[in-house]
């Protein structure tokens, strides 16, 4: 992620006006948008329904032509066919052929990249495995649930090992496993050096994976920046420790009050995220081999993705995880944050020890104190996971 490099996407004064039959302006879908997606980042395009996210994406792909303004994708106009060989696109709905089965669908898209038969077949199998649809690969897509179709949509977007992935509402219509999986894929691809543009109105998803975001409303850019900068609460500090007795809490409270003149705003047991809990429940069910005609829990990200990307620090961690025989997504998740967590949590603690400006006094006891900072929150979650694990062990023991 070198900011000096040419951005993957750059738009200047991008405007799209939809006209009616008589060529009169009907609606301004995108208005003077200046967008910049840098190489290697996960960029979020946020906004309520009808704010121009999809229109912008369609213009980036040359599916709509801008009324005014300029777009460059990899320094070329978006209609350039060569550019499209480097892009993967998942449209807002999985627009697939109902009469083809999953394998044929991927085969069709693979052929459009003029891939060799062997490479195409190999990739198709790996992608089917990744999205957990190998067992359903010969069923027609018309019989698929929306979520299953979405998974095939994701697989087709990855068939060319794209440098730049455009995901329009990637989690729409997916079950929690699917959502979690898409987020995993985004994170893993990002680690492998891919640039990702993601549009969504599901803020939790964006928050979990994006580096930078732009918020659109009425076709206009309302806010842009690093998600950490935009969301960090510089006026709060959060501790997470092993379970403390009320006495210890009191002692800390007194200590804080005396040494720094600060009050603790809330104390309590952190609750697990519903997503984590849900994933654990499903994992248990799968271990008992419960029948399901739907999508299976998926395999690892295919190795062809990002095979040519330059190695980076985190890749090292991923490859270490990959070396273990077939790791499930959940396992990958468990491993990675923990390894990262050590340093992250140290950083948090360091952060805590730094003198801070005094926060304004608050009285509402329910105000969340968790800093809404992406990296930190991820670190927190792993700590929570670790704590939960310990607690479980203790309970079991």
């Amino acid at each position: 992620m070198k900011p000096t490099e040419m951005p993957v996407v750059q738009t200047a004064g991008l405007t799209k006006v939809f006209k009616d039959f008589w060529r009169r302006d009907r609606v301004i879908a995108v208005d003077s948008l200046n967008l910049e997606v840098r190489r290697g980042e996960v960029f979020g395009l946020l906004g309520p329904n009808g704010s121009g996210k999809s229109t912008t994406i369609k213009m980036l792909l040359g599916l709509l032509y801008p009324t005014r303004g300029r777009i460059s994708v990899f320094g070329k106009p978006p209609t350039d066919v060569a550019v499209k060989a480097r892009i993967g696109f998942l449209p807002e709905e999985s627009f697939l052929y109902r009469f083809l089965n999953a394998r044929e669908t991927l085969d069709l898209y693979g052929r459009l990249f003029e891939q060799h038969t062997r490479q195409r077949r190999e990739r198709i199998e790996k992608l089917l495995d990744m999205v957990g649809l190998t067992a359903e690969a010969t069923r027609r897509i018309g019989e698929y649930s929306k979520g299953m179709a979405r998974r095939i949509g994701l697989a087709q977007a990855l068939i060319n090992d794209p440098e730049f992935l455009i995901l329009d509402e990637p989690t729409a219509g997916l079950d929690p496993i699917g959502i979690r999986q898409i987020k995993d894929v985004i994170r893993e691809l990002s680690r492998k050096g891919k640039t990702i543009l993601l549009s969504s109105h599901l803020l939790a998803d964006v928050e979990d994976v994006c580096d930078r975001i732009t918020i659109l409303y009425g076709g206009r850019e309302r806010s842009t920046g690093d998600i950490t900068d935009l969301l960090s609460r510089e006026d709060r500090t959060q501790f997470i420790t092993d379970k403390l007795t009320p006495e210890t809490v009191d002692t800390v409270r007194t200590l804080l009050h005396e040494s720094a003149g600060k009050n603790i705003l809330s104390v309590g047991a952190p609750s697990d995220r519903l997503e984590t809990y849900f994933m654990q429940t499903i994992e248990k069910a799968e271990k008992t081999n419960a029948r399901s005609s739907g999508a299976r829990r998926s395999g690892a990200l295919p190795d062809f993705l990002g095979a040519t990307a330059p190695p980076n620090v985190i890749e090292h961690l991923v490859s270490e995880a990959d070396r273990k025989p077939p790791p499930s997504t959940a396992e990958l998740l468990e491993i990675r944050p923990r390894q990262e967590a050590r340093s992250k949590s140290e950083a948090v603690i360091e952060h805590l020890t730094q003198p801070k400006p005094a926060p304004p006094e608050r009285t509402e006891a329910q105000t969340p104190v968790v800093p809404e900072k992406q990296d930190a929150s991820e670190a927190d979650r792993s700590i929570i996971d670790a704590l939960m694990q310990k607690k479980k062990d203790a309970d079991d023991g």
Binding site: F18, K58, L61, G62, L63, L64, Y65, V81, A82, V83, K84, A85, I87, F89, P91, E93, F95, L96, Y97, F99, L100, E104, L108, Y109, R111, L112, F113, E114, G153, Q156, N160, I166
Partner: protein
């Protein structure tokens, strides 16, 4: 090419799995296989085969034309259904996508046409094995239907010399004396020439006439036949519907046998005389002489005058090819039309939604097929009073429309095929080049239109 073929494959798979093509295949099957059983048994085999060929070829062409139009639905469906978004985000140039769609339609329609052609051939051959009604039926089937014959018209005779001679005679005899100052010599000679020609086509009782043919390039072996085909009128009092006369075919001066054929024919209908092919002279000329005399013993001589409406009413036919080859050439012309129609249908879906595109394509097909008929009806349209303006407007419309729309009837060899006439290679090549050029033009327009289209915009 890989990308174009990927799109074509996809289009074919869609048409088969969405059962559009299957419906048409069923139609064609019923037509080709069922039709022979639906024909009346008491008909002669030759006319049954003719009816079968005419209907099956026409029907197959019609159904495949509809299929070509319906298959173009694939593209508009992709635009309406959003699949186009995923496709156009892939590195395939727009023109390759359009060509791929067209190719898919052409391959499928071509495969069906080929299969139907084979089925038509097989069925016709099978029908020909039925017991013939009589010897004539069998001969007709072999030499007039399941064959490919080339026709030679009579060698044109120059009557200007006769006209010149007549003119001079009349001038000398003083026939023009009263009008000599106003006499338009050219016009008068033309009139005389026409008279002479008409006279030549007319045989008074007991008169005989020689008709010569050149370039009869047939197999001259005596076991082969050539056909003398003619249609004559008879002027008689009392009215008579039967022509009684004698043909002498061959030229003993050039060393050929002379064949004598006694005829009793219904007038105003075509009749074919089968003559052994060795009647043709080594220099490929053929002489036929008609003698206006009742050759039948014991019948009275009628005072009939035989006349031919035009020299086109007499021709010589001989086999130059096989029925199979002829059928293949005719189907090639049908294919050329289908290829062009497919391009047009794809062009319309590049611009319009399917219902609109479908109507436009049907209109195109109807106009292209009925072009000749429309032209005729326009010529015969009343142009008095209020109709005048309408006729002018229709003519203008016709001129503009048929500048763009090809005349499909120009490339229809069905009637030739059914009558065992050779569908010439030259004709087929003309169809390929003309309709091919049209296809390229339409294809370019389609690519251009699709290039400009915003595929994510579905409000068309």
């Amino acid at each position: 090419m890989g990308r174009i073929w990927a799109i074509a494959r996809q289009t074919i798979a869609e048409s088969l799995r969405m059962k559009i093509a299957l419906v048409f295949i069923a139609f064609i099957l019923v037509l080709v296989v069922g039709l022979p059983f639906a024909l009346r048994k008491e008909d002669s085999v030759s006319s049954a085969v003719q009816t079968f060929l005419s209907f099956s070829i026409g029907g197959v062409e019609f159904f495949l034309s509809l299929l070509a139009i319906f298959l173009s639905r694939s593209l508009s469906e992709e635009v309406a259904g959003g699949q186009i978004l995923t496709l156009m985000a892939k590195p395939i140039p727009r023109w390759q996508f359009v060509v791929g769609k067209w190719l898919g339609i052409v391959v499928l329609v071509g495969a069906l046409l080929g299969t139907s052609g084979a089925a038509i051939y097989g069925t016709a051959r099978w029908m020909a094995t039925r017991p013939p009604r009589d010897e004539f039926d069998q001969l007709r089937l072999r030499d007039e239907i399941l064959t490919a014959r080339h026709a030679v018209p009579i060698t044109p005779i120059d009557f200007s010399e006769t006209a010149e001679r007549l003119f001079n005679e009349r001038l000398e005899s003083g026939a023009y004396e009263d009008v000599i100052e106003k006499l338009d010599k050219k016009k008068e000679k033309a009139r005389l020439r026409k008279d002479a020609e008409q006279r030549y086509r007319t045989l008074f009782p007991l008169e005989s006439r020689v008709f010569d043919f050149e370039n009869v390039r047939c197999d001259r072996s005596p076991d082969r036949t050539i056909q003398l085909r003619y249609k004559a009128e008879v002027w008689a009092y009392p009215m008579d519907e039967v022509l009684r006369a004698e043909w002498f075919v061959g030229n003993p001066d050039l060393g050929t046998p002379l064949y004598q054929l006694q005829r009793r024919d219904v007038i105003n209908r075509y009749h074919s005389l089968f003559v052994p092919a060795n009647a043709v002279a080594p220099d490929r000329s053929l002489r036929a002489q008609l003698y206006n005399r009742n050759p039948f013993e014991g019948e009275p001589q009628y005072g009939n005058t035989i006349s031919f409406t035009s020299f086109g009413d007499i021709e010589v036919l001989f086999t130059v090819g096989t029925f199979g080859g002829n059928l293949a050439r005719q189907l090639t012309m049908v294919m050329c039309k289908l290829v062009l129609l497919a391009a047009f249908a794809v062009m319309t879906v590049c611009v319009f939604s399917f219902p609109v595109a479908c109507l436009v394509s049907f209109a195109f097909l109807a106009l292209a097929t009925m072009s000749g008929f429309l032209n005729d009806s326009l010529i015969h349209f009343e142009d008095e009073g209020v109709y005048w303006a309408f006729k002018k407007f229709a003519e203008l419309l016709y001129t503009v429309a048929f500048f763009v729309i090809p005349d499909f009837s120009k490339y229809d060899g069905t009637s030739m095929l059914v009558n065992g006439r050779n569908v010439t290679l030259r004709w087929v090549l003309t169809a390929i080049s003309n309709l091919g050029l049209g296809t390229i033009g339409i294809g370019l327009a389609a690519c251009l239109m699709f290039q400009r289209r915003e595929v994510a915009e579905t409000s068309f």
